[in-house]
Symmetry: C2
Subunit: 348 residues, 2 copies
Amino acid sequence: MAFNPNEHQHLRYNPLKDEWLLVSPHRALRPWSGQTEKAAVEKTPRFDPKNPLCPGVTRASGLVTPNYESTYVFSNDFPALLEDGPEPEASDDELFQTRSARGNCKVMCYHPHSDVYLSSLSTSEVVDVVNEWIKQTEELGKKYLWVQVFENRGQMMGCSNPHPHCQIWSSTFLPNEARVKDANLRKYYQKHGRPLLQDYASKELKKQERIVTENEEWVVVVPYWAVWPFETMVLPKRQIQRFPDADSIQREALAKILQVLVAKYDNLFKCNFPYSMGWHGAPTGEQLKEDQSHWTFHGLYYPPLLRSATVKKFMVGYEMLAQSQRDLTAEKAAAMLRDQSNTRFKSE
Amino acid sequence: MAFNPNEHQHLRYNPLKDEWLLVSPHRALRPWSGQTEKAAVEKTPRFDPKNPLCPGVTRASGLVTPNYESTYVFSNDFPALLEDGPEPEASDDELFQTRSARGNCKVMCYHPHSDVYLSSLSTSEVVDVVNEWIKQTEELGKKYLWVQVFENRGQMMGCSNPHPHCQIWSSTFLPNEARVKDANLRKYYQKHGRPLLQDYASKELKKQERIVTENEEWVVVVPYWAVWPFETMVLPKRQIQRFPDADSIQREALAKILQVLVAKYDNLFKCNFPYSMGWHGAPTGEQLKEDQSHWTFHGLYYPPLLRSATVKKFMVGYEMLAQSQRDLTAEKAAAMLRDQSNTRFKSE
Ligand SMILES: O=P(O)(O)O[C@H]1O[C@H](CO)[C@@H](O)[C@H](O)[C@H]1O
Ligand SMILES: O=P(O)(O)O[C@H]1O[C@H](CO)[C@@H](O)[C@H](O)[C@H]1O
């Protein structure tokens, strides 16, 4: 029998993490009788006088959220990273090593209304979101080595506030994911003289097997090594290293492709598709002046759902102790998303 | 102000993964208004004629589960790893690498009754479980490079069957977690001439800051670098490299300490504390004859709960895209578990 990646077990390599993934397509028929989640289909009221992210509402800190009209950024009332604090001493024991951590945590509202989605906003409103992401990355990047813009969408992803928003955590250290990616991108660049993700994007564009959507400036793929069932990566067609390098044409095209991507996600299981997403670009701060030719700016979406609005993929025992595993192949997932409409379904 | 790890932000190093963790103890006061889980408090009937793991019930495969009286092991009806299948060809493109994966997935019931816990069984019944784990590891290890025994306990951890059981997935490849750990253990051994985890265990025994429980043969600690709020590691006091190396004294002492650990977990939030757990020892198969002096056999427990039976820690946006983060320190978590009784609370 000939090997068919959509039918037969195999491992796939993730060159960004230097890790392997177990793919078990033959297991897709497995029935599911385990835990189901609450489907994310509830309608959120446009304005909730108790929601601190709504214009005019008083937050936990006592500060009042102003009557903002576009995006709005403020300091997280319960930051995981503070700008200052006592510093640990260097440890002389390699099994008990501590290092200093400093940083900053911000919250960014996308829009004054709570009942909107990226796909229901006008493109110019989404361009405002893109521009604010860039402005924050640029400003915080002057001081911090890494600026992580991320959105937890939906209760399933630990998001406790239904108002459309994201977070921005900046740090004096390079977080693990960034450090490992930086090293692997550098290794590839040293070997080939070209950025890994630029090569990857052009190969995917040629293969046309895992593409979810594309426009003149951006392409969205389910990466060959995707771990989450409907994981995607947003890649630029014109090489840029950091978010602020995007010109106005790329910014507008990015707004448009994100609207399409989120609409497709929402259409797949007719819900507000939960995910964590975020942006990765070359390190900033003290590395702003260093050569970063190995970097390609890109976005990452990690959605937990597997079969329906209520059945997620559990990354548990084997995945935690041994290796990530998936049943649905990246190619099938890409085809399923590709087949969805570019406009969001209408909620009842 | 002097640095206090229980109050001030810092990073901690995990020498097994070569990764850092962000600790934000100042954030522990954060209120939680997000998703809550279903508390795992339901009573399971002793026998359910529809549960394929109960003695005498017919499984999906049509095979009948025999009237077993102790442990019972059978092949998973929906295995993620098959013994045979077409093999992928080696890829000539380093961005699209595929490798062959072969293996075997088994299910192991701990006891014929569905309504028991490790802590409610007699010690000799838990010794039977330990001996079966060892027998499986030994048999499968003759053929496979890695034998992963793991248990997903509770619906929150993707477990779809309430009958007390675990799984055993064996593979022709070394999974990521094993490969990285093997490399880091080796590096330490080459530098110090002693196994990392043996040094770690004796230092923890001296420090007495993160110990949950201990007996003559084993110690349970919340590792200095623990990522999950109540994560623990089970370490031998007498060095062994693999599960089958444990002598009868170690086996019985292991049974006893696991009973205590699970009772403490269950007592903490008065529920069937969900977790994924499993065992790591030196690689097997073709590596059975190689020197494995750098390895120490050990157990790992990864429980998701944070504040109560219904509030878990979400490993989402920042954690997925940047770095693991925790609020509660390892030292506080260890003290909370240590304070629990060694006998399980009585369910109503
Ligand atoms: O026990 P099951 O139902 O086979 O499956 C469970 O454990 C597996 C191994 O950790 C995971 O891959 C699945 O996502 C999870 O639902
Ligand atoms: O958005 P929140 O409530 O601050 O917190 C959420 O995102 C954080 C960053 O990914 C996680 O550390 C928390 O576990 C999660 O609940």
